[in-house]
Symmetry: C2
């Protein structure tokens, strides 16, 4: 069964991550569609739950995405009243983005609906393995360029 006895210098997770994320995103799209959300929205909402009150520039860095596209993304979310742009008191040019109550609820509803996707895609993992995976992903996500850039800003 071993395709190559001699394995790679170190296992690279990149391709695997890409592969899985694609499959999961396809299923996620289908599940999220009835809620009026798309994967990009889910990611944005998820980030905002943790980093509420972020500047749009900070979001751009976090999401590794152009500022003008952040505008569009937030416009969509704001139109659905899932987020709110508040003016920063210190610098009134800035917008501080935050989830609305409806946003929190919608995110929770989405995550609930996504249980079936987890079931499908992570079926081979038991509960504790899924938790481990989640924690490792979380650690990687918060412990890199993201928090690095954030650290500079704070």
């Amino acid at each position: 069964m071993a395709p190559s006895a001699v394995t790679q210098p170190t296992h690279r997770s990149g391709a695997l991550l890409d592969f899985l994320a694609r499959r999961m995103r396809l299923r996620t799209e289908a599940v999220l569609a009835p809620l009026g959300l798309r994967p990009r929205h889910l990611v944005a909402l998820t980030v905002l739950r943790v980093r509420g009150g972020s500047t749009q520039q900070a979001l751009a860095t976090t999401l590794a995405m152009d500022g003008t596209n952040i505008v569009g993304l937030l416009n969509e979310l704001e139109a659905d009243k899932l987020i709110e742009r508040r003016r920063s008191p210190e610098d009134r040019r800035r917008h501080l983005v935050e989830l609305t109550e409806a946003g929190v609820e919608q995110l929770a509803k989405a995550e609930c609906a996504l249980a079936e996707v987890d079931e499908e895609m992570l079926g081979a993992l038991d509960a504790s393995q899924r938790e481990t995976l989640y924690n490792l992903l979380q650690l990687a996500a918060t412990g890199t360029g993201v928090s690095c850039a954030q650290a500079i800003l704070e």
Copy 2:
């Protein structure tokens, strides 16, 4: 460290996976470009290393991608002599796709070059955690719809 004491019903890895995969793909693009590869090629080659001799239809299912796009993707890889399409002896309509020797080498070279990306993106994880992550991803990838569809075919 827990951002919210009361966590979600269960942690959903979907958004996190999407988020990380995006960041990683951006970096990967840059690293792979000088090798004449793009992320999609890396994924295809990686799949083919394990599932060599797959039919193009099987690849389409595995990669969750339209058959006509598989053709295009394989055309690119074949033009670079990284893969080979052999006629199936049993059914001469079928193509059995396999990595060439050059393909194996190029894949290894790519993975080697991607060490720096891992370093950047998974910096917060130590070696054993990275290995765990890799194993969990591998398990999830091979243990779902993929192998399920494959099992039916065999």
